[in-house]
Symmetry: D2
Subunit: 395 residues, 4 copies
């Protein structure tokens, strides 16, 4: 149905050997300027300040997620229940799910007040985007892809495969981030996991016999959160960026001119639907204006831009019984200098049922993972436990 390439195109990848591209539409989407932009955004923002090898881009994660989707289609029982159109939607959504990310995405979302998934959906449905045109040219409705990313429940199984507590996105990034940081916790036995899954007409289930691979995957997730994603030093670095973003926003809302190359950034702050400007913004764009802000007349911008370049990070304390509160008193709630941070790495969320991972028992009834595994129940509780930190910037 969908046009195939004459010869499968491959991208070398350390995790899967190859990323394999069979359809023309996928090839063209990879070449689109919106997907290519992901080459210039690091997957792990400031984590490279702690794990110096973590320089990999969101682009290779996009390809990786797409390849996991490929593997799902070829290895998971029941995948053939998906129609050809659903299958291609699945591959495309896997590839495109993260195109809405900005540089230092967490900080960026805080300023914009729009989540990256929403930005992804907007870009896909923006008639001026390469992506939109490619999709339309290949008889794919961009709104279908956007609806999957926005979770409109139109293609429920595909949605679940793209974004749930066990999805192609997480399978790729846990393994990938472990590989590129050198953390050893992200070892996921993806072959075994895929063999445990069953796609039915309206759901994705895990056989009870595969419980160990799921437990192991969630433990990886839990450890990666605490060891990598929420590393306090990485956060301390990202807060510098967040402070600069915030100050820029504050100044621009007060119509105070900043002497730096900030046009696209200001456009986006003013209107998050300005997707042409959005597409200009990437890690090196930010690195560019930070270098200029080093000489800014605004004291805050000046100070924090210099802090970035000289790696002068926010200090932090954990709010536990041993916390020395006197230390932070002078900073309390002082704008730009003080942040509270609650890290609760929810490796698994026990909920009212339908969002949980569904376990297919030997007698063909279904239960939830939270009920089936005491370990995961404990993990869910443990990972809820908030670690509260106060970050403050000492002059």
């Amino acid at each position: 149905m969908f046009k195939e390439l004459k010869r499968t195109k491959v991208f070398r990848d350390p995790l899967y050997g190859y990323v394999e591209v069979k359809y023309e539409v996928i090839e063209k989407l990879i070449d689109s300027k919106e997907v290519q932009r992901l080459r210039r955004i690091r997957q792990l923002s400031g984590v490279n300040m702690v794990f110096q090898t973590a320089e990999h881009s969101r682009f290779c994660h996009a390809l990786g997620t797409y390849q996991v989707a490929n593997l799902v289609l070829s290895h998971v029982e029941g995948a053939s229940l998906l129609t050809p159109y659903e299958q291609i939607l699945f591959l495309i959504s896997a590839l495109l799910h993260d195109i809405g990310h900005g540089p230092y995405s967490h900080a960026f979302e805080n300023i914009l007040d729009v989540r990256h998934e929403e930005m992804s959906a907007r870009i896909i449905t923006y008639p001026n985007s390469d992506i939109y045109k490619i999709l339309v040219n290949h008889q794919i409705n961009p709104n279908d892809v956007a609806d999957i990313i926005r979770k409109k429940s139109k293609y429920k199984v595909v949605e679940k495969l793209i974004s749930s507590q066990l999805d192609v996105d997480r399978l790729d990034y846990l393994a990938r981030d472990a590989y590129f940081t050198g953390a050893t916790y992200g070892n996921i036995d993806i072959n075994r996991l895929l063999r445990s899954l069953i796609i039915t007409k309206d759901d994705v289930l895990v056989r009870a016999s595969g419980i160990h691979s799921v437990e192991s995957y969630l433990m990886s997730r839990y450890h990666m959160y605490f060891q990598v994603y929420y590393h306090p030093v990485a956060r301390a670095y990202e807060l510098l960026l967040e402070t600069i973003y915030l100050r820029i926003k504050d100044l621009s809302q007060n119509n105070i001119k900043i002497n730096a190359n900030l046009e696209d950034f200001l456009n986006v702050i003013k209107d998050s639907n300005n997707l042409d400007s959005y597409n200009q913004i990437d890690d090196s764009y930010v690195a560019g204006f930070i270098k200029q802000l080093v000489k800014s007349e605004d004291e805050i911008l000046n100070k924090f831009a210099n802090a970035v370049l000289n790696r002068k990070l926010f200090s932090y304390i954990e709010l536990d019984e041993f916390a020395n509160l006197a230390e932070i008193k002078p900073y309390l709630n002082k704008k730009y200098y003080y942040y509270e941070s609650s890290v609760s790495a929810v490796a698994y969320l026990i909920s009212k049922g339908e969002n949980e991972i569904q376990i297919l028992l030997p007698n063909n009834t279904i239960t939830t993972l939270g009920k089936y595994s005491k370990i995961i129940e404990a993990l869910a509780n443990q990972s809820y436990k908030e670690v509260k930190r106060i970050y403050y910037f000492k002059d």
Copy 2:
């Protein structure tokens, strides 16, 4: 103090690159007939019937455990608190801890009613053994080694490093058995784990900051139990051996002659202190008499020896809500044909304290792992959960 080799001798090993031997006493012990016998005993008994690559011997595990001890001495903070004599005792005990194993050890212990640790200690202190002579020649008291293996609390720190809930034995075998089975659960970050340990004058502690590597290690242990060590089919195979062992014992106690080469085996059954005979018994010894028993006049031996060769295994059911009890009724308690098996893979044991893994908190107080980690608490409870199986042999 202890004689060093002119040049470090090495054994290639897939897990550590090399096993490195610096002391003459270690080199000679490795060459002793008692350690060499471990080459002829598979580490995982019948597991190779399920994981066909699991043919590795107890010998390579002995070398591996020794090498982990090496790494402890060179990498763990506080290792230098051990005296030179304690250090060499540690290396030697690591190498020798398993020499008391027999072929299909679990079944063998059941017949002998002596645990392999006790057999190890006896061999070490048996004046006719190579090991005894080598130790004495190198000014090492064999009783000191035996006491460590028998846990006499004379060298408490060494004892704990050799055998506790986090010891060099487990660190090697989890990783090794995972490597040779192809299971992916045994990935242990040994570098990180060793960096988390602290040896004090009278204990071995884990820094709280290393909690993730310990949690991860125990999860590996838990998964290896269920996926590999207690695999029901491996058990079903080992029960054939156990039945043959048992029948031989029963016949010999009734003075019924068996037409096979069984002298050493019968010697040992009669007197588990017959260490010369003990040393003759290994996997190929058992394979040898099983081939002969195929034509035995004793119906039981005949039947089960044939079953081994033709891989006709015990059947089993799990005693859960779905169990079909009618199926097993004819076999109930029928000697040789019926076994009850309770698998409770205790990946971690929460106890009254001193046997637990000790966690050193940032404020320099100490707590137990069971209290510190909810996940491990759940793991301990979950892994207690018994799986009850009935094995029965259908003619």
Copy 3:
């Protein structure tokens, strides 16, 4: 065409994740007693005396070779040119190619004067074998399989895939033996290699663009030969076995009775077509009679059986400029005590053309690897270089 299993059966394997069995005939062949016998024969005979982890069996190599054949069918361009019958013949031949091996195969072949390939073919076409019956039951002509193994040029492409200078056998064993010894030289990028191959109507070609993966594979082969397969100490150990085999043969031809369990072995020496006896002989069979020969009245058997158990190996010198010939003078040509050995590890054989690896150039002409790559030309020459060793046994 060929009966498929309801659900793909898998065997865990560290190299490929899983060995996947789709056809009933393959499942049944794996369960045959002739294939199961390979569980009891070590892949690398005496190499475990040097690399102590090399205990893996010929069984796991048989499964591995079969799995590589699977990968060829699913990944190599042009594989669909093979008819369904040829495809199944290919899978079966891959699985069965080594069933003719005996224990310590090299020594065994020397005594029997029959190569293991010929023995494999005989077993496959022996109407009493499980294999024969299974094949016939599944509409496969055993002679077709035997002809492939005997290289009768009936199914040329399949033959080439099974046995040539780049075949599924070597791809598996190089990688596997590297994995289980811990040698690091056998790293083969099998994904890339398979992508470089093209199956045509009557040949298997390698694209010139894939030259690097082929060069790398042959270098691995070369290094594995020198580092592992022809390790002089492994050879020194195997010569003990060879001497015992030889002495048994000599005595039996002179009708001298040997006091040990040797019936099947003697049967086979007398008549290599005695396949029922052949099937009884495996590593533990040999271990069994060696233990008995320790007390043999025949001085030679006695001496060498004791040597095996006490690891008293043949000494050796290399016949180079530095050789101390005086050392070996007393042993010169003394039967049982003296062997000459010429090791020429032919990692690649440059021949008159058709047996060479064929390279498909960008202009669609074909050349040979020996002409195309200077490195391989040098490798071929270098690996021809004979290392001559004299092995002699000092009392």
Copy 4:
């Protein structure tokens, strides 16, 4: 002698587990702005356009090279012949050897006409650099480090370990670049290699018994050259940068103003000794001005800046028998649009002796690798073979 840190500081690294820092001077050097700048320069310039995961920085290679030096000191026989001062010089030189690299280094060197090694030496001896001050503060003469990098033969053994045909630099980058590209050719058995080395008073030798690990290392090098480093598409991308650099230089020499943020770049072109400006220039600096040049009034800058952003690469043909010369005729020698490129990946250089890898024979004489190994001789010849390519830019 040199101040040690209270507790060894570690950096996680996927290749070695950890990079370990014991001395204060190393810690401070890592924190210097000149070493930190390497975080912002990709190790493999434009290779990420072909291998999308190759985003790793020169910073992690600097740490890795330093760690290999650490391993040399702790594992290589004879390392203790180096004085404490030489040892610390070795560690420092390993860490600093690449600080002179600019963004897209090859292109940059072509413009500046200064090699990066010379730039490294200048930075180290520049009194305003952090590095200079740190060294002086720790009683290390910066000129000693610079002399090693400039190969002044003052510390011959250290020089050889830092830069020769078998040095810590190459050992790290081959393995690292393989890891981060996913190429599988860079697998180097560093443990075994280090065990093969011997440091003598005035040289670094390789035992003949280690020949296989050296052959294997050089084959890796050879394959990495052709598969990764000289990949024609990576080169085609880098030529865009080179063209832009060149045009900027030409315009500035003609005093034509360019409307972009180029001050530091122009300073450096004018005077390569302007190290303050040099230190400002990194990958994101270049990314920054390229974005500005997209709207340049200069047609050449405009065209090529746009080409970079839209990945419109140079075309190329190989000058072999099949070359279509008509295709390139219109571009012949047209400045900016035409480049000739001769790739001769010299994986090993056979020279008049002293620069070759020295092999220590069993009889304690020394020969060169080129004489000792036919394979390396062929490799040397084969890798000399030039591949000539014409790159041209089609409007």
